[in-house]
Symmetry: C2
Subunit: 136 residues, 2 copies
DNA sequence: CCTTGACCTTACCATGATGGGAAGGTCTAT
DNA sequence: ATAGACCTTCCCATCATGGTAAGGTCAAGG
């Protein structure tokens, strides 16, 4: 199987497959005489694993750790759970930050008339005019 | 005021101030004879505006638009509200995606014993073994 | 006057993950 | 044999930010 077919089969672009190889996330595959990369179903399986992990928001580094555990028959399931738990925490922190932003913006939009008057509470907030003395 | 003092006063790093100038977000300041950038309170005010906008998650491009509206006395407040509203939508989409990831991960962690058995539902899910036929 | 240290300047490189493209080699089907 | 689809490597771009290096400037103190 050439790289294009492996890409189709795994949902990972050929570009990314080469990149993952380059950074050492996956092993270099065998090559044909004409230097084409050759993949089998095992490699496609690994690529699917990576794609799913990335879809769930794991970084490449985390994905590499999960991949190592996946391929390690003697692994402890607790390690995997810890990685996932930490990832959940990070995601929840991110969500809280975004929700805070949304809250602030919604408040501002709510206060904003949206008409043609030059007064705009959103810009005033960004400028900090109502919380800080405007003079130098 | 030199760039370091402007950075302290605005909370924007000197590095970023130069970058914002380079990409045209802010105007090049006057220079001393020895080529040092010189800033006044107006510039610091602009930098604070930018920092606040970035903190709220607006991109540099959006920040530029908001900045132009802020500095445009004849602006329509509705434009600002529209930018903010679109930004809220984008943030909410992002939040929904993250929450979906968290939901999936929590389910997996919940199913995971966390002991030393090699069976791990998280890895199984990533590998897709329970939703896809393993053979090619 | 000279040194020291803190500051400034530009220029380049790096991140993380991905896409785009160019220039050139290979394979397959007609 | 040739066209078109595929492969190869290499370089560049994104976005916003940080770092580092090499060199210029300024203020304080001996």
């Amino acid at each position: 199987m050439n790289i294009g077919q492996a890409a189709d089969a795994s949902g990972v672009s050929a570009k990314m497959i080469r990149y993952y190889e380059q950074i050492g996330l996956i092993r270099p595959p065998t090559r044909t005489d004409s230097n084409y990369r050759v993949y089998g179903s095992d490699e496609v399986h690994v690529l699917r694993f990576i794609r799913r992990s990335r879809t769930l928001g794991f970084s490449i580094e985390e994905t590499g750790a999960l991949l190592a555990l996946w391929q390690d028959k003697t692994r402890a399931s607790g390690e995997v759970r810890d990685i996932a738990s930490e990832h959940i925490s990070a995601l929840e922190t991110k969500i809280a930050e975004l929700e805070s932003m949304v809250g602030t913006l919604k408040h501002l939009v709510h206060c904003c008339q949206g008409d043609n008057r030059p007064d705009c509470p959103i810009l005033d907030d960004l400028a900090g005019t109502h919380s800080k003395t405007k003079g130098h």
